[in-house]
């Protein structure tokens, strides 16, 4: 019988710690598929961030450096400048990238570092137990916004893909989701583009993935998946915001 589906080589044959219905597994798979397709597993350096994504060294079968909270783009910069022939990617959540690591992501992007940044936006701090993130929706209740995010005090959710697309140093910036087969297919395509930018040395590439966090949203996996399309996509529109090399 012909095998039509299998684990990507760039992923280890191991169970993850992710909760049922969490989208990290899908995002890991898409990134691994892109590495497989370019045949770069052996020359890739991943940079893990702080949050649920910290364990990526346990799941990706590539060399990994663990970065302090928010600093992955700076760590990736150091690694890439020292080893410009390697594929370097960071994988960061929304608290990590859009709050404590804002300076690092903006300046790595603005310098046009030849790296790929995978940004998982699930509108909450997952690892620490569901606190308010910079991407938390207005009105969303979290463990530190028990009355719902109040924009007059907490501001509005940050749209990182659009923000970074304003910078001249950025080659590619896009937002995708993995909440439906159609969106997964588009996410796979754009994830590959985000790595192609680096393989072809076309500049800084950023891909934001809207993701579900059923546990911290207090939802079952199906309802959480539904929320991504119903509540997040209207505020965080999917699309390509910058693509200077037309890849």
């Amino acid at each position: 019988m012909k095998q039509v589906f299998s684990r990507p080589e760039s992923l280890k044959d191991i169970q993850t710690h992710f909760c049922p219905g969490c989208h990290h597994g899908s995002v890991h798979r898409l990134a691994a598929e892109a590495m497989d397709e370019f045949g770069v597993r052996g020359e890739t350096i991943g940079v893990a961030s702080v949050g649920c994504s910290v364990f990526l060294y346990g799941y990706f079968d590539v060399d990994v450096i663990e970065a302090p909270h928010g600093r992955a783009p700076a760590v990736a910069t150091g690694a890439k400048r020292a080893r410009p022939d390697r594929i370097v990617f960071s994988y960061q959540g929304d608290g990590d990238l859009a709050a404590i690591g804002t300076a690092e992501i903006i300046h790595a992007a603005n310098r046009g570092e030849d790296i790929t940044v995978i940004f998982v936006n699930n509108t909450t701090y997952g690892m620490t137990g569901g606190q308010m993130a910079p991407t938390t929706m207005v009105g969303q209740k979290t463990s530190t916004s028990p009355y719902g995010r109040d924009h007059s005090k907490d501001g509005y959710p940050i749209r990182m893909a659009e923000l970074l697309a304003q910078l001249e140093g950025v080659g590619f910036s896009a937002r995708v989701a993995v909440n439906s087969p159609k969106n997964v297919m588009q996410a796979k395509k754009l994830m590959k583009t985000a790595f192609r930018y680096q393989v072809e040395k076309k500049g800084f590439a950023f891909i934001e993935v809207l993701a579900a966090c059923p546990t911290n949203w207090g939802m079952n996996p199906l309802a959480a998946n539904q929320r991504v399309g119903d509540e997040m996509v209207p505020y965080f529109p999917l699309g390509v915001y910058r693509n200077t090399a037309n890849l």
């Binding site: 079968d61 990994v64 302090p68 020292a82």
Partner: protein
């Protein structure tokens, strides 16, 4: 320029650090402007691109130290430099580097504090440097040059020690040593046997094992084992790498002790005391971590009076008191840092004379 031992240059301390880093094979520098160390990034921003290296002026000291972490993790020699306020920001990254056993050189040209303080010389960051500085319980190698020549020599040594022991190394000087010009013999990099960096992350390649550089240690007993391993390594460092200078300590009945810029002033004051017939010596620690405790312990079996002098209200004096024999008297004279607080040789001579005759 003619190469050779007779070639003398006339350079600033900060330039000597930058020159030494290049001679030591460092091709990656990440920094952020701050007085009184900016000559280092200025020099390297000019030289490193010519040598095929990389210079990045980072968005912050936090950015710079994390670039150092990333570059070091791939196995290259790399350096950052700063002063008090910037060194405080770097502590997060230094802790992660210590936890990940990453080498790397951090130059700290101390200025007065706390807070913004000012740009005059200070030794008040002794504790911050020698006690680790960041969270979690760790130590880093700390070298304290007292001349432009030592800025050069100890910077090269910092790279070697850091690579050998897989501990970040700090060159700790102040604006006096960093900003003054002296003659320098730019010696070639000394030959050292360095371990292979088989732990480095370079892209695993086919058939090789995955390499991970990390400080997260969640396994049962994993972190405890790490702490004991590093504890043993610090002891090994103390046994093998302590460096200090002694001047006229053989017959001394009072030993003055000071490091860095203050040791230079103390040296003149000791000479003045000798000219007056006083049996005074000088003990200058060159490594602050590991602290040369044995030198103090040995000398204090015979000489029972020490005078510690610092540009602070007393920090190294803690280590001196922990090191000397129990029946030794350790006195302290300090000038907290700030404009106008650098002591003169006459002032220190007065303190020596007062303690000597007491």
């Amino acid at each position: 320029m003619e190469a050779g031992l007779s070639t003398k240059l006339f350079v600033k301390g900060n330039e000597a650090v930058a020159m030494a880093s290049v001679e030591a094979g460092c091709r990656y520098y990440f920094g952020y402007p701050i007085t009184p160390q900016s000559d280092i990034p200025e020099y390297l921003s000019r030289e490193l691109p010519r040598l095929g290296g990389e210079f990045i002026q980072a968005e912050s000291e936090i950015g710079a130290i994390n670039m150092l972490l990333g570059a070091s993790a791939t196995g290259v020699r790399c350096m950052t430099s700063s002063s008090g306020p910037g060194i405080s920001l770097k502590q997060e990254g230094i802790s992660y580097m210590a936890g990940s056993e990453l080498p790397g050189v951090i130059v700290d040209i101390m200025r007065q504090g706390p807070g913004l303080g000012g740009i005059d010389a200070s030794q008040a960051d002794y504790w911050q440097a020698t006690r680790g500085g960041g969270h979690g319980g760790y130590r880093i190698i700390v070298l304290a040059p007292a001349s432009v020549q030592e800025m050069y020599d100890l910077t090269m040594l910092a790279f070697d020690l850091s690579d050998i022991y897989r501990i970040p190394a700090m060159v700790l000087a102040d604006s006096v040593i960093g900003q003054m010009k002296e003659s320098l013999v730019a010696n070639p990099r000394p030959v050292a046997t360095l371990p292979a960096k088989d732990w480095a992350v370079r892209g695993r390649g086919e058939g090789q094992l995955q390499q991970v550089v990390k400080s997260l240690k969640l396994g049962d007993g994993e972190m405890e084992a790490h702490h004991w391993k590093m504890h043993a390594r610090y002891q090994e460092l103390a046994d093998a790498e302590c460096r200090w200078e002694e001047l006229q300590t053989d017959d001394a009945t009072l030993i003055v002790t000071a490091f860095g810029s203050v040791a230079r002033i103390a040296r003149t004051a000791v000479a003045m005391a000798r000219a007056e017939g006083m049996q005074v010596g000088l003990l200058r620690p060159i490594t602050l971590f590991p602290f040369p405790s044995k030198a103090y312990a040995d000398l204090s079996t015979r000489c029972k009076r020490f005078l510690d002098i610092e540009l602070s209200t007393g920090q190294m004096v803690d280590d001196v008191r922990l090191s000397v024999a129990r029946d030794t008297e350790v006195d302290f004279y300090g000038r907290p840092p700030g404009a106008g607080s650098l002591p003169t040789p006459e002032e220190l001579f007065e303190q020596i004379a007062k303690n000597y005759r007491r």
